[in-house]
Symmetry: C3
Subunit: 476 residues, 3 copies
């Protein structure tokens, strides 16, 4: 069912080289420096529930496409937050999913699912309405066995390090548990303070209060705020964090004076901060985060360009992250100039940039990364984390920035069981890309082998500093 040469170019001389390169990178451990796996899952190591709750209802990559074709989220059992009843029979939801599985043909989600079903759960028939219940049974049976507990899978998946994403006020208790209990799997947090930067949002005050609560501080000024954030960053680093992450719609960076920063913060405290205030504040906070990174060594990640919760009715009923985040055109050259001018050549600083706007790959991102020493380009993100999306990234970025200004693959997933499938696909596509260069005599096989290993393992490990002994008490 899964062809050993899947996704490689068909031409035999490319396919042969691709297969040879992939044979070398396939066994390498997985570095997962950015993602959304729940650390409690690994801390508690409780068995996974049945198949629908594991694979379907938490994964917006899947129910998004079903919804777009008229299959309601309620009928799939996606939990609501407004009390609307939803399907309670997981088998019925699974059946609906399987009835519509043909929708995923030609999509990366379909590829990942096929991989999980085949490799992880040993399914040997095609998922469809007919096979739905048999396959449900098979997965359910496997999930009951100890070999399918989270930590067992973590080891089976050959994960060397897994980073989670955590709010500024997160207690990181599960990370503490993971470090304390001697299991040994390396799971690290990532500092993501977005919610306390959005001073124009109604829930900002609550986010700030949580931050005060978890730190036992009173935050009455911007100076207080910065000090608390610096402290939280140290705390995250003490539990192994090597990176921060920041999401904005527009990646504007601009330094504010001390006075201006205090005034913005005062308006935030008053509840009178406007949208322009927030934009100004976020632009300054990105500068501050970069500055702190030069001090504490945390790698800074920037994920701009997603307009979140485009569909308010879905947000109201189901909450965020339900497949209704839509990209917008994004400008980097002018927006990032302040930050890059100030920190882009700082030897202690690394900035990893992502985009949902592929028109910026060759136009802005590769030229920027091909100049500023601190800059690295993250892999194709989200909608572009796919066969063709990866091809576009490599062919549009490499000629200007080379491969060494990119980070290697990052799975960015909340679907734990999809991690091996995603890395398998990425390693195949990179092997295939390099095989094309070899077959067209642009590079030789020695170069290709070194580059394949870099893309599969070295670059992610090095960019996110997992190859360094932590200076702040992190896992070594």
């Amino acid at each position: 069912m899964l062809h050993p040469d899947r996704f490689f170019d068909v031409e035999p001389s490319v396919r042969r080289v691709a297969a040879a390169l992939f044979e070398e990178t396939s066994p390498l451990p997985i570095i997962s420096p950015h993602g959304h796996v729940d650390p409690e899952m690994l801390a508690s190591n409780a068995p996974f529930p049945e198949p629908t709750a594991l694979l379907l209802t938490p994964d917006h990559y899947i129910f998004r496409l079903l919804y777009s074709q008229g299959v309601s989220m309620e009928s799939l059992g996606v939990p609501t937050r407004d009390g609307t009843p939803t399907e309670t029979d997981p088998r019925a939801a699974w059946q609906r999913f399987a009835d519509h599985y043909y929708l995923f043909r030609g999509t990366p989600t379909g590829i990942w699912l096929d991989h999980e079903l085949h490799e992880l759960f040993g399914v040997r028939v095609k998922l469809s309405g007919n096979s739905a219940q048999r396959i449900y049974d098979q997965i359910a049976e496997r999930l009951a066995s100890p070999e399918y507990r989270p930590r067992a899978l973590f080891e089976r998946f050959n994960i060397e390090v897994l980073a989670t994403t955590d709010a500024a006020s997160d207690t990181l208790e599960h990370h503490a548990t993971l470090r304390a209990d001697g299991w040994g799997g390396r799971v690290v947090p990532t500092f993501r303070p977005d919610s306390v930067f959005r001073i124009g949002q109604p829930d900002w005050r609550q986010a700030l209060t949580q931050l005060e609560a978890v730190t036992g501080s009173r935050i009455g000024s911007f100076a207080d705020f910065l000090e608390v954030l610096a402290g939280r960053r140290r705390f995250f680093a003490s539990l192994g964090a090597t990176a921060t992450d920041h999401a904005v719609v527009e990646p504007l960076t601009r330094h504010a004076s001390v006075d201006e920063a205090e005034q913005l913060f005062a308006r935030a405290l008053d509840g009178t901060a406007s949208d322009p205030d927030q934009k100004r504040f976020e632009a300054h906070m990105l500068m501050e985060m970069a500055r702190l990174s030069t001090e504490d060594g945390l790698v800074m990640q920037l994920h701009p360009g997603a307009l979140r919760d485009h569909h308010p009715r879905v947000l109201e009923r189901f909450g965020p992250d339900k497949g209704a985040d839509i990209p917008v055109a994004t400008e980097y050259t002018r927006n990032l100039q302040a930050l890059l001018n100030t920190y882009g050549a700082h030897p202690a600083f690394t900035l990893v940039l992502f985009t949902l706007d592929e028109s910026t790959y060759a136009r802005e991102l590769a030229p920027l990364a091909g100049h500023y020493p601190a800059l690295r380009l993250g892999p194709p993100w989200w909608f572009h984390d796919s066969l063709e999306g990866m091809k576009r990234f490599r062919t549009q970025v490499t000629e200007t920035a080379g491969i060494w200004n990119t980070t290697g693959f990052i799975d960015d997933t909340r679907a734990f069981c999809s991690i091996p499938a995603r890395h398998d696909l990425a390693r195949r596509m990179d092997a295939n890309y390099l095989a094309g260069l070899v077959a067209r005599h642009q590079i030789d096989l020695d170069d290709a082998r070194r580059m394949a290993r870099a893309l599969a393992y070295d670059l992610a490990r090095r960019t996110y500093r997992f190859d360094r002994a932590s200076t702040t008490g992190g896992v070594s």
Copy 2:
């Protein structure tokens, strides 16, 4: 001269599958749900004139490229509206065209023309200055025979349904004739009210007057206007229409209050509506058209992003649609939010989106179509209706939206004789795309066959509701 495996990938295992898929889709009837064929042609069934008037002078795809290389439109016999004399000898015009036919190498226009010459007119030599007059004679001879009358060609082309595009005040007399005279070919109108939405244009008043005349109404208020439009939509539907079509430069949608709508309309009646007024009015009318679609079931089509008549001198001398419409960058995510939030999950609503800005395929359109149930993406439009354009569309859209959120192929042509050539090309490219997925083991052959049929036939038929018994008296 036409290779049976033309346009397929060269690699034998891809080409083999592509040919097998195309063999199945090639005989399927043609669904043409959006185009610009003149219904009078089919109503009168008069013989076509000579070759130049059939193939050259009405087709801006052709004379555009000749003009760009210094061949004047006057010398090709393109009719003027300012009295400037033009070439009156069709053979001389044809000769000039043929002398420059090398300009079309590598273009879809060249492919379509080669197809028409070979398949429809039995030409077996390459068009050039040398062969020009012989080929002219051969086409002219064929056009004189009954087998080349419009209805005979309609049947020979295997067209199941053909939609025309018609102004809001069109009498649809030719459609009425076609329905009344018992021929049986399905030709349906499409409701395109653009001109009455452009309240800032000097010819708006005239367009409104025509609408009043054809409906015998007096339109003194926005409420009147809406009522007349709803009536016209019903009238169009009664003659088989299943869709409306709307062209705007920027696809802004925004609801206006009743008061604001009336005020905008009052300024239009006064002749004082400004450009911002028109923008505001169009944005609201798109909301109203969507609302009416949820009531009368007409599929709504939106074609934004063409800056019409970029070259005023060409407009003045030759009129619109002369190859001087130029695309501009187009934003969908924010512009469509109001409409999609309101109607995007309505079960009776279908919105078909087109673009001339390919950077939006993967960034905005596929994510939107991969979420909103009402949304379908039209095929590569106009400049992008080409081999490479189709490849870019499939590779940039499918991974996020799948194929089932797309409409299948739409020829959008005013060149009746090019319809089979355009569908032939599209079916070949889709077969080839799917063959690539099969050869790389992303899908299996069963999937590919089902998907090929959907792209060639099912999706267009279903999206435009030609598979439904009409609820408003349309052709069943």
Copy 3:
């Protein structure tokens, strides 16, 4: 080391045709109508210095990528203008470069370098830290021989004509020397008056003063300014120039009244011109340059979209053209409307457009070039002058504009020794593109041969009017 079929598609039937086409275009002379070679080099014909000063320190394509990976420009011996000491041992700089040569794998810079080392300097081992000094020796030895003098290389490179780029106030003394001394190599200047158009810049006054000095004129008004510019254009043409070149960030064109132009110029003379003034002035000057082109027949080139000197610290220490120019999104449809409406159909006018924003290829540039007779599209520029960049250009432009609305290849280089490598790559990629069309039965081999020759030679020669006897005393 250099494979004869390098860069061609791997599929045998494509590769065979590509090789056949390239065999015909490879021996054609090089037309280089736009570039940045220093004319003094050819006028003096002095031997080149050692390898580092020839290949590394003047070429921002190379040290840019080294800098982006933490190799300082100082350590490479890039000259500073602020007195900062830099590496003085060229062998040490060369060693650093070679140690990091793996960074260039997969980049066009790497391809060009490999070509120069192999073809020009006879190097038969891979450049690396180990081979660095041996290769340095080999190049140095070659450079000492008379066969490696600039004029000998010019002839060996089979350059038919080479255009330089020269400021409005350049004395063109080296061009005069070249014409006077009977060597016979055709080297022509290009008129690039950017600095005197930037009336908002602090160094504008100095640029104007130079212009006054070189012409012995006093420029007290806009009318004076225009007259001096027209005179300079005639002077450039008298030394063989066939083109002008203009760089702006945004390609806005708009006619200003005589009064407005004089007012803008008066503010410039006063030192009070603002940024909007400069924008307005540049927009008008593009109109004036087009007008003068219709009179003196100089081809007008427009290179918009580069935000120069993004990194002030690099500018301060090292000066401009150090790899820190970054593209921005660029709009052509609306910005160029004024100019194209006025001059786009003028029979004596040619405008060559370039872009760093590939999203405009299919959306704006190809539709514009497929309409306006005066418009031609320059080849992939700068960051896009690469294997994949060339593929994107051809596949996104040809279907709408054909190949005959493009200029053929332009190397645009300041690295004299890279000229043959760049044309070799371009001719290979064009041969390969056409071979694909042949193999997929879009064109036949006769068409392909004619098109390959056009792309390699005819189009550049014709677009830049090197096929015409000059009417202004230029080289014939």
